[in-house]
Amino acid sequence: MNLFNRLRGATQPSSRETAKRRLQLVLVHDRSQISPGLIEIIKDEIIAVISKHVDIDRDGVQVQFTQADRESRLVADIPLLDGRKNRR
């Protein structure tokens, strides 16, 4: 947010910042040709495969894109459940 907006007492980001953020998000999907819906499917399948072998925190699983310049990357973050607490 620029100084001008601060002085005005604006609390929401400028439309310029919003435009940039929205573009960055939409282009990640455009470039990879993977829709947000497909990511959900990938996420569910990853959970199914991994949880066959280890206990994971299903609600904490995150699958997302990262990008630098024109390179996109799919990053999966899969939290494991604490083995001691869950030992039956």
Binding site: V26, R31, D69, R70
Partner: protein, 269 residues
């Protein structure tokens, strides 16, 4: 010396491809270069009216390709600049009338006698676009600082790379400095962050472009036009000259107007 073929394209329509082609063509010719502006938008001819040469068309691109006339007969010589030519599109046909190989052949025939061939591409990413980039040595993408134009430009960047015509260079057209300062328009730096390609020009929104287009006398001829200066700078960069980018600021109030008045002669920007 053989001509360099530069295709001007955008993805989205209405961002200023034709205006850019006409003005950069004029600006290159003002630098003494031998220029052909080729209208690649078959069926939606417009480069002729923007250049003010619409009354002199007898033959067009498709007539040349289909053998109804010689290449020289279809080329319209500009009345203001002796080394500027227009090769008009056909207005009655569609994109299928010109195939990529036809345009390549045509450019090969033009290359020996000129320095630059500027191709004004059709909007979109279909046949017209593919034909227009086929003969290109370089591709210039025109965009506006708004979400839909930048998104389409990004698609075109990828397609140009896939066609091994990259890396494309970027023109940010119709920038409104006042809106950027207020935080209500993407700045050039935002667009460059997103598209990650090299910049070749920033053209500010300027009503002299509309007025000069009304008259068929491109703004690049106008010494006082801010957009005209931006187009002349783009032409100099195309020739390989290192020209610093202008920074635009909206100057309001008495002080702003005064300082702008003082800087009117300075043409360093």
């Amino acid at each position: 010396m053989t001509a360099r073929v530069i295709t001007i394209t955008s993805g989205k329509g209405g961002v200023g491809k034709t205006t850019t082609t006409a003005n950069v063509g004029v600006a290159l010719a003002l630098l003494g270069k031998r220029v052909v502006c080729l209208d690649g938008d078959i069926g939606l001819r417009n480069l002729d009216v923007v250049l003010g040469l619409e009354n002199r068309i007898v033959y067009d691109l498709v007539d040349v390709i289909e053998g109804r006339c010689k290449l020289r007969q279809a080329m319209i010589k500009d009345k203001r600049l002796s080394e500027l030519y227009l090769l008009p599109a056909s207005q009655k046909r569609d994109k299928s009338a010109v195939r990529p190989d036809d345009l390549k052949k045509l450019c090969e025939d033009l290359r020996p006698d000129h320095d630059y061939i500027l191709i004004d591409s059709a909007a979109g990413i279909e046949e017209g676009f593919r034909t227009a980039i086929a003969p290109a040595d370089e591709v210039v993408i025109v965009t506006n600082p708004e979400v839909s134009a930048v998104r389409d430009a990004d698609r075109v960047v990828g397609l140009v790379e896939a066609a091994e015509k990259g890396p494309a260079r970027l023109i940010v057209n119709r920038l409104k400095p006042g809106l950027v300062q207020r935080g209500d328009m993407l700045d050039t730096s935002d667009v460059l962050d997103i598209l990650a390609i090299d910049l070749i020009g920033i053209v500010p929104e300027d009503e002299t472009v509309l007025i000069s287009t009304n008259r068929g006398n491109p703004a690049a001829f106008d010494e006082k036009s801010r957009a005209g200066l931006a187009f002349r700078n783009i032409a100099r960069r195309i020739t390989g000259e290192d020209v610093p980018f202008q920074t635009f600021r909206e100057e309001t109030g008495l002080f702003g107007r005064f300082s702008r008045l003082l800087r009117r002669d300075g043409r360093t920007a």
